[in-house]
């Protein structure tokens, strides 16, 4: 190895971070060449001089500032995944109201004759299911799209009362 080749391999040789196969060759050369040995010594000294630069500490408010900025970042809205559209939300609410109403019926009307009651019951259920399938009714909920979910009127209780009154 010539001095020129050694000088380029000197840094990887000295820092021991390269696993190139030249280590042995560099060592052999350093054993016989004063100039390269001096250069190696100077590099080591240079590195110790560079170590004099002190570490700076991040300011005390660094983490708090960082956390505040992270908190400002928009978070993924997981709930949107469950309720993608107000129209669907309304349909689900209606379906829930209907199922609650069905479960309550037998208790409220236990005094009536069985067959008459069943026919009425079935008729009401079918009538209500029609509402869910009726596109015109559902499309009217579009007007509610811009109203936040918690301000939407809930028509279910009135509906339930009407139906119960009908039966009494």
């Amino acid at each position: 190895m010539k001095c020129e080749d050694v000088s380029k391999e000197l840094i990887p040789y000295l820092d021991r971070r390269s696993n190139s196969a030249d280590r042995h060759e560099v060592e052999e050369h350093l054993a016989i060449c004063v100039a390269c040995r001096t250069r190696a010594e100077e590099l080591r000294t240079l590195w110790s001089v560079l170590d004099e630069v002190p570490i700076v500490e991040p300011s005390l408010g660094f983490d708090a500032r960082m956390r505040a900025r992270i908190a400002e970042e928009p978070q993924p809205r997981w709930f949107r995944w469950f309720v993608p559209q107000p129209r669907l939300a309304m349909a689900m609410a209606l379906l829930l109201a209907v199922s609650v109403w069905i479960t309550r019926l037998p208790q409220d009307n236990s005094g009536l004759p069985g067959s008459v009651q069943n026919e009425q019951q079935q008729f009401q259920v079918i009538k209500n299911l029609d509402v869910l399938e009726n596109y015109d009714v559902l499309s009217k909920f579009d007007a509610l799209d811009e109203v936040p979910a918690d301000e939407q009127p809930a028509p279910q209780p009135d509906q339930q009362n009407d139906q119960q009154q009908q039966q009494e």
Binding site: I11, R17, L46, S48, V49, V53, R65, M66, P76
Partner: protein, 202 residues
Amino acid sequence: MTRSDVQLMLDVKAGDDASFDLLLQKYRRPLVNFLYRMVRDTATAEDLAQEVFLRVYRARKQYSPSAKFTTWLFRIATNLALNSVRDNRHRQKDVSIDAASSPDEDAAPMQLPAPEMRIDEHMIERDRADYIRKVISELPEKQRVAVLLHKYEEMDYAEIARILECSESALKSLLFRAYETLRVQLAPLVNASASRREGSQS
């Protein structure tokens, strides 16, 4: 058991902000120091470090562990620091890292220390540190990044090469040239330090 950086980042991706905090704790100090050595201003270094972490956080959903976390982190930091330095100099050149490897980079003017400043073993510690930082900051961009990552972050060649988007052999040349310049520029300190060591040995 401690989770690897990659695992922490995958947890951040899955929505765990506490893991991001662990990465912040681990890397804010090396990052602020790296950036401070790049821009030589503590306030700017901290602003840039915040920006680096914010970019990492914003990119969490797209994160895939194709490289070491530190490679990614210091790549963002390097780009931001170089842009900041260039903006500061009111230059309007191409801002990619590769722009730094133009043939005239070795011809970059090296400023001499102020005449009233004595560069020798009697310099007080703070002045010595300031002077060393100044000499490093005057290295051509790519050499400067290479030295900072090699000397202070103690990264291996493969990682530094990936951050600088160059081959390992090109990196070795960069480091060789950078340390040659530093050896000449810091000769008074190096020689004083060497003679002090010889004195203590004999």
